[in-house]
Amino acid sequence: MTDFQMDSLPDDGFRPLLEFDLDTTVLNDQWVYCDFMSSFVANMVSHNRADPFMFSNLLSATLNELFETVYRTRKEAGQFRFRMLRKGSVDRITMVVPCGRDEQQFYLKTVEEIRDPGASDKYLELLFSDDELDRRIGLFELAISYKAQMSAVALEDKAVCLTVDLVIEQGAD
């Protein structure tokens, strides 16, 4: 079991909005939880944005892609930890995903790839692929379509911590 505490992660002046843990064995069986969690979180943190509906719609879309990525990459038992923070117009999503070395490499490598100069073309290639959808699509989408800033850090050999900074609504307080 992984037990990395969110409190130990640096917050850079971000204000915590919402946090939850989920046993990965629960998530493993329930694809629909990706939809439930993204809709719930988006609704909970959108009320004080200038346009709550538009914000919630876009945030739900981005969160769902993240949760689906986690669903498709988790292999290890443990606690999946999710935290959402806010500083001005920036929403920070921090996720600790229990996983082995291979899955850690997936996150670390994909986060590197999205910084490549050809990442936009790669995203479109993945989006319109005739093959089975590549599981990197969600992270590429956030980086290219939503211009999210992302980082991934391996936590020993048991988990990965993914941090995503999103600006959905310019000029939000």
């Binding site: 939809d35 346009d51 509906f53 538009m54 719609n57 739900s60 479109l124 989006l127 005739d130 959808l133």
Partner: protein, 391 residues
């Protein structure tokens, strides 16, 4: 905040208009889960001739699995049917859609993507112009004196959940909030300049109980049966298909709740002295609006429209805003803004000649003259109507 959350989707095809419609939320784990929908889309597109429409205006969510499936079918259709062009209609209100579908358009130029609500409303460019803000504000000040009493006769009470649709600059929603102490107010409009103004005013007055949202009154994302009282003021008259708005107002109203609309019959604006000139100009206003497919004469038709939309217990009355209600300058200011919008913007856009515009403007000037005349009288009639959604 109440947001329609749906984990299911629906689809349908209108053969007559060759429109395939998708609505709800599509987030499958595997594309095979939406095979029925994709097969139907493929079959309908294969039958189509000329233009084939895909309506995703109410497709609130789609994950990449679903989008990839939809895009694959549409790209296949374009390959197999060079005689068929595809147009995707989306709404700017559903934020995720422009990002994905515009990428599809760039990939396949034969697939066109249009924002439905951009061209839907015939007078949109006039009513969403930021200069219209001043008209709305003055009008609300003058009508509120009457409506705060009238609303009580139409079922407004304290502690209600209210939606103000086509809220404009949001001042009516703020007044409702202060006067009737509702539990919650959602105010929706399609004009971003107006909503920016509304949010600024709410901040200024430290009101946090009104939520201003961008939306299309004909395709709202508000949930079914949510509100005790729904208002829609001076707005049915700017849509060429008011029945579509009314069906949405009906949908979001709770069974047993009421929908309240107010509208004008501009040709009944009046004034003394100079009544004939005033009358002529306002008759011409009605014709001008009709030219742009809007009905500024809709006020007395409200009862029929509400009945046709399925409402019961219709209550209807009219009131006259006049120069004697408050400061006559307020009335004159409203007429001045009408003159600017109707004569300088709309009549010019219709292509009216200078002689017509001069005569047209004179009627407004005479209405202002009547309003400010020490013995004059100037009026602007409004019809309000409300109906109950059956239990």
């Amino acid at each position: 905040m109440a947001v329609a959350v749906s984990t299911s989707y629906e689809f349908g095809y209108d053969e007559n208009d060759q429109v395939f419609t998708l609505a709800g939320s599509m987030r499958p784990k595997d594309v095979s889960e939406i095979d029925a929908c994709l097969d139907a889309l493929r079959a309908c597109a294969r039958q189509a001739s000329g233009m084939f429409y895909v309506n995703v205006r109410r497709l609130l969510q789609s994950n990449n699995v679903a989008f990839n499936g939809l895009a694959s079918v549409l790209m296949q259709v374009c390959r197999e049917r060079p005689d068929v062009n595809v147009t995707i209609t989306m709404s700017s209100v559903v934020g995720w859609t422009p990002r994905k579908f515009n990428a599809l358009r760039r990939k396949i130029p034969r697939i066109d993507v249009v924002e439905y609500d951009k061209d839907f409303y015939p007078g949109q460019s006039f009513v969403e112009d930021s200069s219209f803000v001043s008209v709305l504000r003055k009008q609300t000040t003058m009508t509120w004196r009457h409506e705060k009493h009238i609303l009580l006769r139409h079922g407004m009470g304290e502690g209600m959940k209210i939606a103000d649709i086509c809220c404009g600059i949001g001042d009516f929603a703020l007044l409702l909030f202060r006067e009737f102490n509702p539990t919650y107010v959602v105010a929706l409009d399609h004009a971003k300049a107006s909503l920016d103004y509304a949010r600024k005013m709410a901040r200024e007055f430290n009101v946090t109980g009104v939520e201003y949202v961008y939306g299309d009154a004909a395709e709202m994302l508000l949930p079914n049966g949510e509100f005790d009282f729904v208002t829609c003021r001076h707005s049915l008259q700017v849509f060429d298909r008011p029945e579509r708005i009314l069906s949405e107002l009906f949908r979001i109203c709770k069974p047993g709740g009421r929908v309240y609309v107010s509208n004008e019959k501009n040709s009944h604006c009046l004034g003394e002295p100079r009544a004939d000139s005033i009358q002529w100009t306002y008759n011409e206003v009605a014709k001008l609006w009709k030219y742009f497919n809007m009905d500024i004469e809709i006020g007395p038709k409200s009862r029929r429209l509400l009945l046709d939309a399925g409402f019961e217990d219709i209550r209807m009355e009219s009131f006259m805003v006049t120069n004697l209600d408050g400061d006559p300058e307020e009335f004159a200011d409203v007429v001045r803004t009408w003159k600017d919008m109707f004569a300088d913007s709309m009549a010019k856009e219709r292509g009216d000649d200078d002689a017509f515009i001069r005569k047209f403007k004179k009627g407004f000037d005479d209405h202002i003259f009547a309003a400010l005349h020490p013995k004059g009288y100037a009026g602007w009639p409004i019809w309000v109507a409300s109906g109950r959604r059956p239990l």
